[in-house]
C-alpha cells in the first residue's frame, strides 16, 4: 500500500471532515485571492487606465480672470511638460437627480466641458454610447454607472436654485481625476457644443470657467508639482482669486484607492481568521483520525511502514484536500468576479476587470498550503511516539484522574443539567477553542454591522471621521460678508453659524515641507465636530494643530514650531495639538483667524457654515438665500448632503462586503459547531450508547449536549459582542491609522450588540440541536458497536 493509497483511503473514510475542510479552504482562498489580486494590481491598473486616455497629471479649474498668470506659474515649474486649456461652465450650486432610478436629488458641484473639443490630454472614450447623440446628451463619469446604477438613456435632471433642465445620459467616461466623488466632490460632465453654449448663455446654471489639464515629466511627483503651484499662486495672485479646483494625479490616485485598499485588507484579514479556524478543524480532525484509526496505524507499523511514512500519508491527505479546496475557491472567486468587479469599480470609478492573476494565485496557494501543512504536521507529529504495540492496544487513551467537581451525590441540579455541566468541564480545552472562535466571529459581526450602520444608515460619525462639519449649508460671500452673514444668522431657519475657511497651505519644519488643507476659524470650541485627538485646538494667533500625517511627513511633534508661507509672508506657529481627518488624505492643519491675519493682514472670513434648526429643508433654505442675495453675491452648497452623497458611492460596496462577511460568519459557525459536535458524538459514542442502554432517552442525551454547549456558545457570543462594542472604534482606528486616524467615534448601537449575541447564540444552539439530533435515530447497541458515521 503506497502513501498515496493510505491518504486517499483516509479521505474516503472521513467524508464530512474532508468536506468541511475543503469548504473552509475554499472560503479562505476566495478572500485571500481576491484581496491579494486587488491589492497587488490596483496601483498598476490605475496607472494603465490613466496612460490609456493620456490622463492629466494636474487639473486646475479657475474663474478665468488670471489665466495668463496661472499658465505662467505652472509652466515655470521645472517638471512641467505640456498643457491644454479649454472653456467650460462651473456650476457650484447644482443638484442632480436620475429620474429613471427614482433617486433623490444630490447636491454636487459640476463642471461642464465641450465633448466636441479635440484634446490630447484626458481623452474621452465613451462607454455604452448612445447611437445618436441627442442635443441634451451628457457623458457622465463611469462611477455613476458602477455605484449608482445609471444607464445610458436615463434622464438626469439638473437643478440650480429653482431652475432645472433635463439631460439624457449618452454614455460614460473613465477618468481617474473625476472617477469617484470620494475626494473630488464634483462631477465632470461632457455635453455637446450647442448645449454648452446654451448653458453659458444662461448664467443661472453656472459661470464660465477655465479648465487647465497639465502634463508633467514625472507622474510620480505630481504632489510636489501641486505644492509648488499652490505656493506660487498664493505669492503671485491676489487673495480671493477664483480658483475652483486644483487636483493632482498622485493625491487623487491615493484617495481613490484608499477605500478599496481598506476593503481588501479586511478581506485578507478575514481569510487569515478563516485559516485559523481551518487550523483548529485540522487539529480536531487529525486527533480524531489518529484516535479512531490507532489500530490501523498499529497494523501498518507492524507490516513495516515507518511512522514517517504514516505521517507523510496524513500530510498527503491534507495536501490533496488543500489542492481541491484551493481549486474550488479559485473557481468560486472567478465565478463571483462580477460582484468583485462591481465592488472595485464602484469604489474607484474605473472599469475593473477581475481576472486570473498568476502571482496572486501563487501567493495565496503558498500561504494556504504552508498554513495547512504546518498545522497538520504539528497535529499528527505525535504518531512518531506510537509504537506498533501501543497502537494495537489502543495505547494513546487518556486517563482521567482529575477532581470530581460536580459529584452527583451533592449537586442540586437535575441529572441532565449536571451531566451537561460535567461534559462542559471535561471538554474544557475543546470548549475554549470553540468559544474563542465564536467570540472572534461575534466581535467581527458587531464590527461589520456597526460599519454598515455608520456608513449607510446614519453617516454622522463617518462624516466626523472625514473631518467635515455637520453644517447643512455652506455659504461663500463674494462681498459684504459681514452684513450677509449677520442676516443669515438671524434667519428663523438658522440654529447656528460659524465662519470657517479652508485653503491649501504649505507647512515647513526645518528643511521639510508638506502641503496641507488649512482650516481657519475664530473659536474652535464652537465647531460641532471635534477633530482634536491629542493636546488642544489653537486658541492664540501663534498656535496650530496638525494631523499626524503632516507631522510625520515633517518629522515634527507637539511642542515644535512650524512655519506657514503665504503670499511671501512666513509666520511661525507652535504645534499645540494633533487633529485627524480622512478628508484631503489626512493632510490638514488648523489655525485661528488671528493667526491667519498674521499671514494675511487683509484676511476676510468669507465662508460661513450654516446649521439649520431641526426639521428645516436644506434645499428650500438654499433657494431662499440665493433668491435673496443672488448668485453674484453668494455661492451656496448643501454641505452635509454633499458629504453624505460622497459616502453613498461606497454604500453598495459596503453592503456587499458586510453581507458577504455575515454570510461567511454564519457558515463558519455552523461548520465549526457541526464538526465539534460530530467529533464529540464520535468520540463519546460508547458512552452515549451505554447511556441509552441504561435508559437515557435521545432527548435527554441531546439536552445534555445542548446544556454543555450552551454556556460556551452564549458566553462567547455575548463576550464577543460586548468586545465588539468596545473594540470597533479602536479596530477601525488601527485600520485607518495609515490615513492618520487615531481615534474613531462610530456609533455602536447597543441593539446591534444584543442582536449579534442573540443571533449567534440561536444559530449556534440550533446547529448543536440539529447535529446532536443524529443520536435520535440510532439504537443504543448500534452506537457503541459501530459509531454514528
Amino acid at each position: 500500500m503506497s502513501v498515496l493509497m493510505i491518504a486517499t483511503n483516509n479521505i474516503k473514510k472521513a467524508k464530512v471532515a474532508t468536506a468541511t475542510l475543503i469548504i473552509l479552504i475554499a472560503i479562505a482562498t476566495i478572500f485571500l485571492y481576491v484581496g491579494i489580486s486587488v491589492l497587488a494590481n490596483i496601483d498598476r491598473f490605475i496607472d494603465q487606465k490613466n496612460a490609456k486616455i493620456n490622463g492629466a497629471h494636474q487639473i486646475f479649474i479657475t474663474d478665468g480672470v488670471h489665466d495668463q498668470e496661472i499658465q505662467e506659474i505652472y509652466q515655470s515649474i521645472p517638471s512641467y511638460s505640456y498643457s491644454e486649456r479649454e472653456e467650460g461652465m462651473m456650476s457650484i450650486s447644482s443638484s442632480f437627480q436620475n429620474i429613471n432610478t427614482g433617486e433623490e436629488a444630490n447636491s454636487i458641484p459640476a463642471v461642464f466641458l465641450n465633448l466636441d473639443t479635440e484634446r490630447k490630454i484626458s481623452q474621452v472614450k465613451i462607454i455604452d454610447p448612445v447611437e445618436n447623440m441627442p442635443k441634451n446628451g451628457v457623458i457622465a463619469p463611469y462611477v455613476l454607472k458602477a455605484a449608482n446604477g445609471y444607464q445610458t438613456g436615463d434622464t438626469l435632471k439638473m437643478t440650480v436654485d429653482e431652475v432645472s433642465t433635463e439631460l439624457e445620459i449618452a454614455g460614460f467616461y473613465e477618468d481617474l481625476m473625476f472617477a469617484s466623488p470620494s475626494n473630488v466632490s464634483m462631477y465632470k460632465l461632457y455635453v455637446g457644443d450647442q448645449q454648452l453654449q446654451e448653458f453659458l448663455a444662461q448664467p443661472q446654471f453656472g459661470s464660465k470657467c477655465s479648465y487647465f489639464a497639465v502634463m508633467t515629466t514625472d507622474i510620480n511627483n505630481t504632489e510636489a508639482f501641486e505644492s509648488e503651484y499652490v505656493k506660487e499662486t498664493k505669492n503671485r495672485l491676489p487673495e480671493g482669486t477664483g480658483s475652483y479646483v486644483s487636483i493632482c494625479y498622485g493625491t487623487t490616485k491615493t484617495g481613490v484607492s484608499i477605500f478599496i485598499n481598506i476593503i481588501m485588507a479586511v478581506l485578507v484579514s478575514f481569510s487569515i481568521i478563516i485559516l485559523a479556524i481551518a487550523a483548529i478543524v485540522i487539529k480536531f480532525s487529525t486527533t480524531t483520525h489518529i484516535e479512531n484509526n490507532i489500530k490501523n496505524i498499529g497494523t501498518l507499523e507492524a507490516m513495516g511502514y515507518t511512522t514517517r511514512q504514516i505521517l507523510n500519508s496524513i500530510l498527503v491527505e491534507y495536501l490533496l484536500m488543500t489542492a481541491v479546496g484551493f481549486m474550488v475557491g479559485l473557481g468560486a472567486a472567478l465565478l463571483i468576479s462580477p460582484v468583485i468587479t462591481n465592488v472595485v469599480s464602484s469604489s474607484i470609478g474605473l472599469r475593473w476587470a477581475t481576472g486570473l492573476y498568476p502571482q496572486a494565485v501563487l501567493v495565496s496557494f503558498g500561504v494556504i498550503m504552508l498554513a495547512v501543512l504546518g498545522i497538520s504536521y504539528v497535529s499528527a507529529a505525535k504518531i512518531k511516539k506510537i509504537t506498533p504495540l501501543t497502537a494495537l492496544r489502543s495505547g494513546i487513551e487518556t486517563h482521567h484522574f482529575g477532581k470530581n467537581r460536580i459529584p452527583l451525590e451533592a449537586t442540586r441540579f437535575n441529572l441532565n443539567t449536571t451531566m451537561g455541566f460535567k461534559a462542559l468541564l471535561f471538554n474544557k480545552r475543546q470548549n475554549l477553542i470553540t468559544g474563542l472562535i465564536i467570540m472572534l466571529l461575534s466581535l467581527v459581526t458587531v464590527f461589520a454591522l456597526a460599519s454598515y450602520y455608520n456608513f449607510s444608515v446614519d453617516k454622522t460619525a463617518m462624516i466626523k471621521l472625514i473631518g467635515l462639519e455637520t453644517a447643512e449649508v455652506e455659504v461663500n460671500a463674494v462681498d459684504d460678508e459681514k452684513t450677509i452673514f449677520a442676516e443669515i444668522a438671524a434667519m428663523p431657519e438658522v440654529e447656528d453659524t460659524i465662519r470657517l475657511v479652508s485653503f491649501d497651505g504649505v507647512i515647513k519644519f526645518k528643511d521639510k515641507e508638506s502641503s496641507a488643507m488649512t482650516r481657519v476659524t475664530e473659536d474652535y470650541s464652537r465647531l460641532k465636530v471635534d477633530t482634536c485627538v491629542k493636546g488642544r485646538m489653537p486658541v492664540y494667533d501663534n498656535e496650530i494643530a496638525i494631523t499626524s500625517i503632516v507631522l510625520g511627513k515633517l518629522g515634527a511633534q507637539m511642542g515644535d514650531t512650524v512655519s506657514i508661507d503665504y503670499n511671501g509672508i512666513n509666520c511661525e506657529f507652535l504645534v499645540v495639538g494633533v487633529i485627524q481627518q480622512f478628508n484631503a488624505l489626512g493632510k490638514a492643519t488648523a489655525i485661528t483667524t488671528a493667526g491667519m491675519k498674521k499671514l494675511l493682514p487683509s484676511y476676510r472670513e468669507q465662508n460661513l457654515m450654516v446649521y439649520l434648526a431641526e426639521g428645516q429643508d436644506t434645499e428650500k433654505f438654499i433657494t431662499k438665500i440665493n433668491n435673496q442675495y443672488g448668485s453674484e453675491k453668494i455661492k451656496t452648497n448643501s454641505y452635509f448632503e454633499s458629504a453624505e452623497m460622497m459616502l453613498d458611492s461606497f454604500e453598495a460596496s459596503i453592503k456587499i462586503i458586510v453581507t458577504g462577511c455575515l454570510g461567511i460568519i454564519a457558515v463558519i459557525i455552523v461548520f465549526v459547531l457541526f464538526l465539534v459536535i460530530r467529533v464529540r458524538i464520535l468520540r463519546e459514542r460508547t458512552r452515549l450508547g451505554v447511556s441509552k442502554a441504561l435508559g437515557f432517552t435521545a432527548n435527554q442525551l441531546i439536552g445534555q449536549i445542548l446544556i454543555s454547549q450552551m454556556p460556551v456558545i452564549i458566553g462567547a457570543a455575548v463576550v464577543g459582542a460586548i468586545a465588539g462594542y468596545f473594540a470597533t472604534n479602536p479596530l477601525l482606528a488601527l485600520m485607518l491609522s495609515a490615513n492618520g486616524i487615531l481615534n474613531c467615534d462610530f456609533y455602536v448601537n447597543p441593539g446591534l450588540v444584543l442582536f449579534t449575541a442573540i443571533g449567534i447564540s440561536l444559530l449556534g444552539l440550533a446547529t448543536v440541536l440539529i447535529v446532536a439530533g443524529k443520536i435520535r435515530k440510532i439504537s443504543p447497541c448500534q452506537m457503541f458497536e459501530e459509531g454514528v458515521d
Binding site: 452527583l408 441504561l694 439504537s779
Partner: protein, 252 residues
C-alpha cells in the same frame, strides 16, 4: 398465575446492506420466567448478542413481538424503550463501559437518578451495593481507570442493579477478565439471581454457563435446543458433565 416475565414470539431480525440481506434471528420463540438464570450460547455469528439486545429493548426486531409482563414492548418508541430499560432492566457488558470521566459513585448514581430523584437514597443504595460486591469506601471516588478489570466489572454490576431491575442482561460479562476476577463476578451474579432477579446472559464460557439454570443454544439465528440445569449448586459434580454433554451434542 403465570410467572413469565419476558416472552418473544416469532422474533426475527434482518440486517440489510444494500441488496444483501442477513437474517440474524429467524422466528424465535422464547419465554423467560421470573428468577430464571438463562444463558444463551452458540458459536460466533449465531445471533446471541442480537437476541440479547432485542429482548432488552436495545434494538427493535424486524418481525415478531416481545412482551414484558403481558405488555408488548416491541412496538414501543425509542423513548418508551429507554424508560422501559431504566425501570426494568440492568446491563452488564464484556467491555464494562464505565464512564471514564466519572467516579465510581457517579457512574452508579447516573443510572440511579434516572429513576429516583432522592439523591441521598440513591447514594446510600449505591454504597450498600458496592459494599456487597466487596468494594470498599476508598473506591467510591476512584475513576474507572484506577480500578482492576474485576473491580470495574463489579462496579458495572452495581450500576446494573441500582434500580433493582427485574431482569439483568449480561453480554459476556467475564469475557475480558482473568479467571480469579471472572469467578468473583460470577459469584456476584449468582447472588443477584438468588435474590430473585432474572438474568439473561450471553457467554462462550462453559464455567460461566454452569451457573445458569437454563441454557439456550443458538445456531444460525435459531434456538436449536435448550437444557434445564436446575438451581446452581457449587459442589454438584454432575452439572458440569451434563452441560458438557449438551454442548458436545450441539457441536460445541
Amino acid at each position: 398465575m403465570s410467572n413469565t416475565i419476558l416472552k418473544a414470539e416469532m422474533l426475527s431480525k434482518t440486517y440489510s446492506n444494500g441488496s444483501i440481506m442477513q437474517h440474524v434471528l429467524k422466528n424465535l420463540n422464547i419465554e423467560i420466567k421470573a428468577g430464571d438464570f438463562t444463558v444463551i450460547m452458540g458459536s460466533s455469528g449465531s445471533g446471541k448478542s442480537t437476541l440479547l439486545y432485542a429482548l432488552s429493548g436495545m434494538d427493535k426486531p424486524t418481525l415478531g413481538t416481545i412482551d414484558f409482563r403481558g405488555e408488548v414492548i416491541s412496538n414501543y418508541s425509542n423513548d418508551q424503550l429507554a424508560v422501559f430499560r431504566r425501570k426494568h432492566c440492568g446491563f452488564v457488558f464484556q467491555q464494562i463501559y464505565l464512564n471514564d470521566t466519572m467516579t465510581v459513585l457517579d457512574n452508579i448514581m447516573i443510572s440511579g437518578l434516572l429513576v429516583s430523584r432522592n439523591r441521598k437514597a440513591v447514594a446510600a443504595r449505591a454504597k450498600e451495593l458496592l459494599q456487597q460486591v466487596g468494594l470498599s469506601d476508598v473506591s467510591y471516588q476512584k475513576y474507572p481507570s484506577q480500578l482492576s478489570g474485576g473491580e470495574a466489572q463489579r462496579v458495572a454490576i452495581v450500576r446494573a442493579l441500582i434500580n433493582a431491575p427485574e431482569i439483568v442482561f449480561a453480554d459476556e460479562p467475564t469475557g475480558a477478565l482473568n479467571s480469579t476476577n471472572a469467578i468473583n463476578v460470577l459469584d456476584v451474579m449468582t447472588e443477584v439471581n438468588a435474590a430473585g432477579q432474572s438474568i439473561i446472559m450471553v457467554t462462550h464460557d462453559i464455567k460461566t454457563a454452569r451457573r445458569a439454570n437454563r441454557i439456550l443454544y443458538l445456531k444460525d439465528g435459531v434456538i436449536i435446543d435448550e437444557l434445564s440445569l436446575g438451581t446452581y449448586c457449587k459442589d454438584d459434580p454432575d452439572r458440569h458433565l451434563i452441560l458438557r454433554e449438551f454442548l458436545e451434542r450441539m457441536g460445541w
